[in-house]
């Protein structure tokens, strides 16, 4: 069995806002996106935060709102938007056969408590007892639940009543790709009909910055363009991004509008020694190539900005863009930061929304790679993801009526 997989709903909350109109307008206004960058709060690092939004419109109960930290709030919000668009919201029967596959990492720590403990821990003469007492008195039981990655999906099940099943993938950029790959494979093979696929990430988190800065991967100093950053080139972004996937048969049967059609999702790993990532991506491109329509395809890259890897990816993208007759490439991290686990699905949502316009936004970064859009209406997107440490991926998505 090899069924067609359709996208019937999408939802995204990101620094670019939450409506296709807002995304389109900001993606075409580089000076406005430059203004989204927050460089003071976590100096010397930069972040691109999510602005104000009305969480209560998707998560009405105060208790539910309080049970989550930002990452989970972004996710439940975006999931609600996607369910709404797909006509699934509040339909208990359909939600009962909707299967959740998500990508999420650990939730926010109470860094004020951490900070307080770290101020006294080094050299404490009764280290164990001190730590136990501080943690036992200071940790909130509810925070633990907000930290468990699978409670990202758990909260979506609970708040939106998605009850088919729930699976959570972890593992940075690749987790988001694999959530889409596995959900699409299950639908294609007839194992399930409807999936809600998504991811969340909060980059405005001091505890994660501490983890990333150990690897020296965060951009400091000036906001240099995405494709020209040194080693330490990541600007964390934040996002909740969701798609509703379903079989063509199911979408037709329930009369829902098909927003786009998902092609193959290729996701693999290489050991990342010299040339290995390119070889892997090359193979993926080769297998997608027969389905790509030269002159009608746009490329959205999830390049993180981490110098050595993004440099290699840039050369690869330049090559394939050339082979596709000068296909326009856009690296979205320039506009909204790198949202790790959520980066790829965010780009999938942006791709679907731009397919609905039949267009691609103006160049985001000042780089020869990002050529101006040609005049041919864009009917396909190649969405790529190279993890900052591991994983290369590529997926094709097409206009619904192409």
């Amino acid at each position: 069995m090899n069924r067609e997989v359709c996208i019937t709903g999408y939802g995204l909350i990101s620094p670019l806002g939450e409506t296709p109109e807002a995304w389109w307008s900001l993606l075409n206004d580089p000076s406005a996106t430059a203004g989204l960058v927050e460089s003071d709060a976590y100096a010397p690092f930069h972040v691109v935060p999510v602005g104000d939004y009305d969480l209560a419109s998707q998560v009405p109960k105060r208790g539910d709102q309080r049970a989550m930290e930002p990452m989970m709030q972004y996710g439940t919000y975006a999931a609600g938007l996607a369910l709404e668009m797909a006509g699934l919201k509040d339909d208990e029967d359909l939600l009962g056969e909707t299967h959740l596959v998500v990508a999420a990492g650990g939730g926010e720590r109470d860094w004020e408590l951490d900070q307080q403990i770290l101020a006294e821990l080094p050299g404490h003469n009764d280290r164990g007892a001190f730590l136990n007492q501080q943690l036992a008195d200071g940790l909130r039981p509810t925070l633990f639940l907000a930290q468990l990655p699978n409670l990202f999906a758990g909260n979506i099940s609970l708040i939106h009543k998605v009850s088919g099943s729930s699976r959570t993938f972890m593992g940075e950029e690749s987790a988001g790709v694999d959530a889409l790959r596995i959900a699409a494979s299950r639908i294609r093979a007839g194992q399930v009909d409807i999936c809600l696929v998504g991811a969340g990430y909060n980059g405005s988190r001091p505890d994660m910055m501490f983890t990333y800065h150990a690897g020296n991967i965060l951009l400091t100093g000036d906001m240099t363009p995405l494709w020209q950053r040194p080693d330490a080139g990541i600007v964390p972004g934040s996002a909740g991004a969701f798609l509703v996937l379903e079989s063509r048969e199911r979408a037709v049967a329930r009369g829902v509008q098909v927003r786009a059609v998902l092609g193959d999702v290729k996701s693999g790993r290489s050991h990342r020694r010299e040339g290995a990532a390119v070889a892997n991506a090359r193979q993926q491109f080769g297998s997608l190539h027969p389905g790509i329509r030269k002159g009608e395809v746009g490329i959205l890259s999830g390049a993180s900005g981490f110098g050595p890897v993004t440099g290699e990816e840039k050369s690869f993208l330049k090559e394939i863009a050339g082979e596709l007759g000068g296909a326009p490439v856009r690296g979205t991290a320039q506009a909204c930061g790198h949202s790790m686990d959520a980066a790829f699905l965010q780009n999938m949502v942006l791709a679907v929304s731009m397919l609905e316009r039949g267009a691609i936004c103006a160049p985001l970064a000042d780089a020869p790679l990002e050529t101006a859009a040609n005049d041919v209406p864009v009917s396909q997107y190649l969405v790529t993801s190279w993890g900052h440490l591991t994983g290369e991926a590529m997926a094709l998505v097409e206009k619904a009526d192409a």
Binding site: N155, L158, G171, R186, M209, H213
Partner: protein
């Protein structure tokens, strides 16, 4: 043509629990009713109400962190399973990797050490030891070690797995979810084999305290080996534990063609998301029932065919009550005739690994015709009217085993495993 429900062979298993290293040692000690629960020595438990765990203390990592410990156990059980399945040393495992691991965080010793080395500047956190400095190059690998995807990436690299390795969590159902993903992958015909791994080496001060704050843990520290009392009236919570298990799943024709021994089959998988509460099941048991009956239906069986249940059986008041309620509901009159026991009475609750560990033990039950006991069963709970295989193992051939795994966040997964000759 993919078959949506065909049974998938198991051709290799590997295991580590607090009872020891390797399937043979674990299976012998489990049958004997030995407990792996002991006083915690890894860190100070001063001031804590729970002082016991089923930690795995013999792997010898230095430093012992959540990722280093979870990796070394995963690595060992994968080697054991791959060896049995005949894939060891081939360098190119022809299938995907599905690995359940705990969420990776710095432990306090690491956080303390790093904060002295990583200078983030005055407005940043954890370190106010002066102005910003680029992190030392040698910490790059440290960064990698604390990413969620790294354990599976390292296993994939070692065994030549080129597909993207999947790291997952469905809380305490995680180990079973890896098997479910593996079964689905082989049924789809994507690959002839799948490697399914659950690992959890996450016991430290903070993780223990977090579960304690949810009142989930037993506080019956003395004697430690009697603390885990699934299904007993006086049960007072689960005992945190560590461990890992790996299963090689394989298309049966593929296994036969290459002459591999089939240990057992996965016949059915079922899952359901509960939308009631973050830590509790719906009082009507709807999702538990849907998970159990889903697995039995997927196997093409009826409840009466499945004579033994390897229970989730954590030893919390809530879980054991709801699990037995679910079993009674699905089995109806046959509930009195099914044997139900909890491995966790002996090995504790290895969280992310538990579903894989218990599936591996279920394979041994099918092979040897032995039902492991529920130990520490001295005060029957009148509300739980089932045969829990109390205190002593039982010799009994079973054709099929149901293995349940349930977790916080409404996670419910059930597997039906069957005899190799069935």
């Amino acid at each position: 043509m993919p078959d949506k429900t065909k049974p998938i062979a198991i051709t290799g298993i590997g295991m580590i629990t607090a009872l020891g290293r390797g399937v043979a040692e674990n299976w012998t000690r489990l049958q004997n009713g030995n407990s792996g629960i002991h006083l915690i020595e890894r860190f100070s438990t001063e001031g804590l109400r729970t002082k016991i765990a089923g930690s795995v203390d013999f792997m010898g990592e230095d430093p012992l962190t959540i990722p280093s410990h979870s990796y070394s156990m995963a690595d060992a059980v994968v080697d054991e399973a791959m060896g049995q399945a005949g894939f060891a040393g081939n360098g190119a495992f022809p299938g995907d990797l599905f690995l359940a691991a705990p969420p990776i965080e710095h432990d306090w010793a690491t956080r303390e050490k790093l904060s002295a080395q990583v200078h983030m500047g005055p407005k940043s956190y954890y370190s106010d030891h002066g102005p910003y400095e680029a992190a030392p190059r040698e910490l790059f690998d440290h960064h990698r070690d604390f990413m969620n995807g790294t354990i599976s990436d390292r296993i994939a690299e070692k065994h030549g797995i080129t597909g993207s390795p999947i790291t997952l969590t469905t809380a305490c159902a995680s180990g079973a979810t890896t098997i479910q993903l593996g079964v689905e992958s082989v049924r789809r015909g994507e690959a002839p084999v799948a490697l399914c791994v659950g690992t959890d080496g996450s016991i430290n001060e903070e993780t223990l305290i977090r579960f304690a704050l949810l009142s989930a843990l037993s506080t019956k520290n003395d004697p430690p080996e009697q603390a885990a009392k699934p299904f007993s009236a006086n049960r007072d919570g689960f005992v945190m534990a560590e461990g890992a298990a790996a299963l090689v799943l394989e298309d049966a024709e593929h296994a036969k063609a290459r002459g591999a021994e089939i240990l057992a089959y996965v016949y059915g998988i079922g899952e359901a998301a509960d939308t009631f509460h973050r830590t509790r099941s719906h009082p009507d048991g709807e999702a538990i029932i849907r998970s159990i009956s889903g697995a039995i239906n997927d196997a093409g069986l009826s409840p009466a065919d499945v004579g033994y249940i390897n229970a989730h059986g954590t030893g919390t008041q809530e879980n054991d009550k709801m699990e037995c309620f679910g079993i009674a509901n699905v089995y109806g009159d046959a509930a009195r005739r099914v044997a139900v026991s909890s491995n966790k009475s002996m090995i504790g609750h290895s969280l992310t690994a538990a579903g894989a560990v218990e599936a591996a033990f279920s394979v041994m039950t099918l092979r040897d015709g032995i039902l492991p006991p529920t130990i520490n069963y001295d005060e029957p709970d009148p509300a739980i009217d089932i045969d829990v295989v109390p205190n002593e193992k039982r010799a009994q051939q079973v054709e099929f085993v149901l293995s349940n795994s349930f977790g916080f966040g409404g996670q419910n997964v059930s597997l039906v495993l069957g005899h190799a000759d069935a």
